[in-house]
């Protein structure tokens, strides 16, 4: 235990952007309360592991992270939260190396739990209030850009997905609260916010839908830009496309296709078909030709034939995603797909995954090459005395030579070439003087 009164806290986060936001909000909470933020290898008094359970691999990573964090910090308070805490609650509670298991809907009150522990109170996580929107606007953060949570949970019940079971039913944060959170986040110095949730396209607060909320966020005064985290490709119209003409809204969407096969999409119980997806992509690109689309693809879904997989390859080629986040299908207990026939052998899934990754890298190279000679406004995330890097408007990584550039500042950069390859491919450029 730390010798002086200041307690040290470390965080480990796995999984989605929503989890990252929730960790950032907890960091802000603990920072305000006087805790010192340290790494897990710096003898923290508290370690919070914010877990993920979306695939078998996420479970494995979460388990390993918990074990390593606990083993390295024998006397620390170990708090496990996140989706794995919901999915494997009883199992985790029975582990001696974990002090508290806190479900997602009580995650925002972890500070109260830890404070109570250090002041000798006996407080069980079940006594914490349940509120998925109780998070403070991010001030102290582990990231350059801050997310703003607008929604939680999902009612879509896609047949592969465990999220409705671990994040609960879809709920939306009231418009006024979202706008207040955006204002405060901007006041806290962030130049870029990311609109985040589990299924944000289904945002619904009385009469307000996602587009209505987004339009109001864009009108919040201040010098900042807005991104949208991953989105389900259903139910968007012309108005959504038009909103991207607003200078604050960045021209990139992570639109989750999951499969290019109509039959597979139906078995996945997705809410769209390939034709609707195509229509959305074409609609955007007819207005904004450089618009950047990235996506998620699941390979080896039960019953996926060679022909169906080929349709996915064709779709990835046609839609020219600059990045494909590829998941090998993994069984999630309690989902409908668990009970489907014709599960695909791991070897085939691995081969299909490699094919998608290869295609994705070709797409990325082609897309990045098409941007050479153009300019991007880059939000600097890393800076040394001579070099800076960050992400451009299109959510493409850019590096450039520059002296004494500060982090969290935006600079115009002319793109001149490429560096690295595969996953590490980046655009390089020259600073355009103001």
């Amino acid at each position: 235990m730390n010798s002086n009164n200041t307690k040290k806290i470390a965080f480990k986060t796995l999984g989605c952007r929503l989890n990252q936001y929730e960790t950032d909000a907890l960091v802000t909470d603990f920072d305000k309360a006087g805790y010192q933020l340290v790494g897990v290898d710096e003898s923290p008094d508290v370690v919070v592991v914010n877990t993920c359970t979306v695939t078998n691999q996420s479970d494995q990573k979460s388990r390993t992270t918990i074990s390593q964090a606990a083993r390295a910090n024998n006397n620390a308070v170990v708090v496990v939260t996140g989706c794995m805490a919901n999915n494997f609650k009883e199992k985790l509670e029975s582990q001696d190396n974990i002090t508290f298991v806190v479900e997602n809907n009580r995650k925002s009150s972890i500070l109260s739990l830890v404070d109570a522990h250090f002041s000798g109170e006996i407080l069980h996580p079940e006594q914490l209030p349940q509120d998925v929107f109780r998070y403070e606007p991010v001030r102290k953060s582990l990231h350059t850009r801050s997310a703003v949570k607008i929604q939680d949970g999902c009612d879509n019940f896609c047949t592969f997905c465990i999220i409705p079971m671990v994040r609960g039913r879809a709920v939306s944060r009231p418009v006024a609260e979202v706008l207040e959170s955006v204002r405060k986040t901007i006041e806290n110095g962030f130049k870029e916010i990311v609109i985040t949730g589990v299924n944000i396209g289904r945002y619904e607060d009385r009469e307000a839908r996602f587009e209505d909320l987004l339009a109001q966020v864009l009108e919040v005064p201040g010098d900042f830009r807005v991104r949208i985290s991953s989105l389900e490709p259903d139910g968007f119209g012309d108005r959504f496309v038009q909103l991207f003409s607003h200078p604050k809204l960045m021209p990139h969407l992570h639109l989750c296709l999951q499969s290019g096969s109509e039959k597979t999409l139906l078995r996945m119980r997705r809410m769209y078909d390939v034709e609707q997806f195509r229509k959305t992509i074409n609609q955007f690109r007819s207005v904004y030709p450089e618009f950047n689309f990235t996506t998620d693809i699941i390979v080896g879904f039960p019953g996926e034939t060679d022909e169906e997989f080929q349709q996915t390859l064709d779709a990835v080629s046609e839609f020219n995603f600059s990045h494909v986040h590829t998941f090998k299908y993994s069984v999630r207990k309690g989902t409908r797909a668990e009970r489907m026939e014709n599960h695909i052998p791991e070897k085939i899934k691995t081969a299909r995954s490699a094919q998608i990754r290869e295609l994705s890298e070709e797409n990325k190279l082609r897309y990045y090459q098409s941007l050479i000679g153009k300019t991007q406004k880059v939000l600097v995330e890393k800076a040394t005395r001579t070099k800076a890097s960050g992400y451009g408007d299109l959510f493409v990584p850019v590096e450039f030579q520059a002296k004494d550039i500060q982090k969290n500042t935006i600079h115009t950069v002319k793109l001149t070439g490429l560096s690295g390859e595969g996953e590490k491919l980046v655009l390089v450029g020259e600073l355009v003087p103001n």
């Binding site: 009612d155 039959k263 139906l266 078995r267 078909d273 034709e275 309690g334």
Partner: protein, 225 residues
């Protein structure tokens, strides 16, 4: 004197089965008290058995204004869940969560639109809910089954609106798969189609309707497993 009022939270997710209607040897409906449960015709619920960790989704079979909340269940051979549902008796508890889903229409559209409902097997459930909720709705219901005995509650539909396609007997309006019937049909261009059933039927029906020139936005799907 002040009385301290403790908040009493009643768990509203458990419902007592009021009636079990046997519709065929394999298919039955569970009638539950609707109480304050509000839903829109076409939506589904998650149904669990008291004491069991698993649950399944079922479209609501009753209308929005009916006295009971009703679901339609077909027992699956060697299944885990439906044989357990089959063993339930009047008075047993089931756990309900929901309602969920966007499969349905706005009341004003139900009054003015033209609809074709396409169902395989127990996929008829959301359409019975719609027809009971909007008695004046202009619809045609095309129901695909193996045997005509699976024409659940067919007497509730006007005979000129209900097309039974039976693939293994000759007692339906049409003998064969519903997709065979659909291929020869003509529909007015403003028709909205609602499809509910297994994914293979929906895939085939979608292709047929798209070939007939209908826009995807006119076709609404709910996949059953």
């Amino acid at each position: 004197m002040h009385l301290i009022k403790h908040e009493i939270k009643i768990d509203e997710s458990f419902y007592k089965i009021e009636e079990i209607r046997q519709l065929t040897n394999e298919t039955f409906s569970l009638k539950l008290p609707r109480a304050r449960f509000a839903f829109k015709a076409g939506q589904h619920i998650s149904l669990g058995i008291h004491g069991d960790y698993q649950s399944r989704e079922y479209s609501i079979y009753s209308g929005e204004n009916d006295e009971n909340l009703e679901v339609l269940v077909k027992e699956v051979d060697n299944g885990y869940f439906t044989p357990k549902l089959r063993k339930l008796k009047t008075g047993d508890l089931v756990e309900i969560h929901g309602p969920f889903g966007k499969f349905g229409m706005e009341p004003k559209d139900a009054e003015t639109g033209k609809f074709v409902f396409i169902a395989s097997g127990t996929g008829i459930a959301p359409f019975r809910s719609m027809v009971r909720t909007y008695p004046e709705i202009d619809y045609t219901l095309i129901h695909g089954v193996r045997y005509s005995t699976e024409a659940y509650d067919r007497h509730e539909y006007a005979s000129d609106r209900y097309i039974l396609c039976s693939s293994r007997d000759q007692k339906g309006t049409y003998t064969g798969r519903l997709t065979g019937y659909l291929k020869d049909c003509t529909f007015s261009p403003e028709t909205h189609f609602y499809l509910c059933g297994n994914s293979d039927m929906i895939f085939d029906a979608l292709e047929i309707l798209k070939d007939k020139g209908f826009e995807r936005d006119q076709i609404h799907c709910e996949v059953y497993f």
